[in-house]
């Protein structure tokens, strides 16, 4: 027989849990005398239930006596069958091949969805060119302001920093060869051809790409997208096209600003090295051509399109739970950056072949 006394609460149950063992049954019965228990709550009930289950396993009948009526009736209402742990069925081990297969299928499905989305988007953009009135201009300008104008300070700041760091780091080795004059041209070419567009696109992805995903994701969670569909207003036309248009237009313009502030950063370093202003701009003008600038802006336009399109896609694909918006924004940034990097590589090859 087991005698329990005192408070059968979380503290008491914790102490007793592992220590308690069922004694040998007398004629198949084990009695637990709980008449000195002053208080019993959920944890206490769990302890008593465990003892009863243990009794079941060893084939004896565990009876609890001395509890007050209410607790007793609660105990009686517990269906022990619900708490019997079934023997671990041979767990379905997921083979590596199966998980790889599932991953590939999931990836292909995602690619298919993306392809059909790009098709729909392209069709709608062309249709917009023919029927400009279908765009809600006032809403569009608000989007342009948010994604473009408001991004100007951070773009200019990062551009300046980039030019500064690049010039400074380059000056150190080039000085050894007395070639620090060429810092100017190096900064000019790097920024205008590559870093200006790339850096602008990455900042825009973090800023606008995730914002688009979050906006559309929140609308998905709030059933606003369902509401649009039941009105017969296609979400891609109404929500995505304005944002993609804004992103595509804004990216090259911001890149121009980034380029200029990057050059200013380089200029700053050159001035501290003792070179006059004029020398810097001469070097830049000599080594950087208008073709370089155009290539950079072309890249920027493509990046802008990609990051806005994928940002909106991730937003539309958001789930309906609380974490969905955050996940959509994260996916937008990751996908956006990956696409930009791939596009940058493709452009490098393409432009090289065009020049040759």
């Amino acid at each position: 027989m087991i005698r329990l006394a005192g408070r059968l609460d979380a503290v008491g149950a914790a102490q007793a849990w592992s220590a308690l063992k069922l004694p040998d049954p007398v004629q198949g019965v084990v009695v637990i005398d709980a008449s000195d228990v002053s208080y019993c709550d959920g944890a206490g009930m769990a302890l008593l239930t465990r003892l009863r289950l243990l009794g079941r396993q060893t084939g004896c009948d565990v009876r609890v006596t001395g509890l007050n009526d209410q607790i007793q009736s609660l105990m009686d209402s517990i269906d022990l069958n619900a708490y019997v742990v079934a023997p671990q069925s041979a767990s379905h081990k997921i083979l590596l091949t199966e998980s790889v297969g599932r991953g590939v299928v999931g990836y292909l499905r995602g690619t298919l969805a993306a392809v059909s989305y790009v098709g729909e988007l392209t069709y709608l953009l062309i249709r917009l060119a023919r029927h400009p009135k279908t765009l809600r201009w006032r809403d569009w300008l608000r989007i342009v302001q948010a994604s473009g104008l408001n991004a100007l300070p951070i773009i200019v700041m990062i551009g300046f920093l980039l030019g500064l760091i690049l010039a400074f780091q380059a000056a150190i080795p080039l000085r050894l060869f007395g070639a620090d004059l060429y810092v100017a041209s190096m900064v000019g070419v790097s920024i205008i051809r590559e870093l200006g567009p790339l850096m602008t696109a990455i900042v825009l992805t973090g800023r606008s790409g995730s914002a688009f995903a979050a906006e559309l994701g929140a609308m998905r969670v709030n059933e606003e997208i369902d509401a649009l569909e039941t009105f017969g207003i296609e979400p891609v036309r109404f929500l995505v096209v304005p944002r993609v248009l804004a992103g595509t237009l804004v990216a090259p313009i911001l890149t121009l600003f980034a380029n200029f502030s990057g050059l200013l950063g380089g200029l700053f370093v050159m001035l501290t090295l003792g070179f006059p202003n004029v020398v810097f701009w001469n070097q830049v003008r000599t080594y950087v051509t208008y073709v370089d600038l155009l290539e950079g802006l072309l890249k920027a336009t493509a990046f802008g399109f990609l990051l806005s399109a994928v940002g909106c896609l991730r937003g539309l694909q958001a789930g309906r739970d609380a974490g969905a918006v955050g996940r959509a924004a994260t996916r937008a940034v990751v996908s956006g950056i990956i696409l930009i990097v791939i596009a940058d590589g493709l452009f490098a090859v393409l432009l090289y072949c065009l020049r040759a």
Partner: protein
Amino acid sequence: MSSATDIMVEVKNLDAGYGDKAILRHISFSVHRGEVLAILGISGCGKSTLLKHMIGLHPPLAGQVLICGEEMATASGSERLRMLRHFGVTYQSGALFGTLSLLDNVRLPIEEFTSLPDAAIDLVARMKLDLVGLRAYADYLPAEVSGGMRKRAAMARAMALDPEILFLDEPSAGLDPVTSSGLDALILRLSDALGMTFVVVTHELASIHAIADRVVFLDREAQGVLAIGTPAELRMQTAHPRVKRFFARAAEEVLEERKG
């Protein structure tokens, strides 16, 4: 619309669900012009799923849904657009467009689908808001008004193009009894004055008794319709225990025990 067609919505042998999993099977009922039909059942029985199938957001797994005699699932793009004109939908959360004012929310469908001049659109939208008692709040954003007002604004938006049928998904969810009965009164007024047909998904007993002409009772275990009839019929004479329990609010059994 031909006056011979008295049946506005017809559900024929519908299997409703997502993917390959059917939540409801062999659902059949019809909604007549001018009536208020309530779709009820306990939480999780598939009411909202059924509604999504009826408004064309999901194609049926089997069976058909006919709006004014035509099937939406097999319709082409432009036909579908025309069929969408027949009905309006309000969602559980209101689903108003957050960046637009209440007035602009109501204006949106009118701007998109009619070529009325701007002044006319403005007037029509304000009249719709007036109909639901929100004329003074036309320029407020959805986040700036209460939940009950959002629901009313959503109804105004759903009615913007004067549809013949209105689908309401849990209109009283989260509302206090006073606001909820105000919404019920509005539904009755619109039904009487404009002859609109209402399909209301709900589990609020008070609303059902106040507004419903007929009730479709869905059941999770049976995965189908347990009963169709007037609220009085379902409460009194029906044989099925689960329906009776719903109407009698089974919690009363527990309350009885405590008293006794």
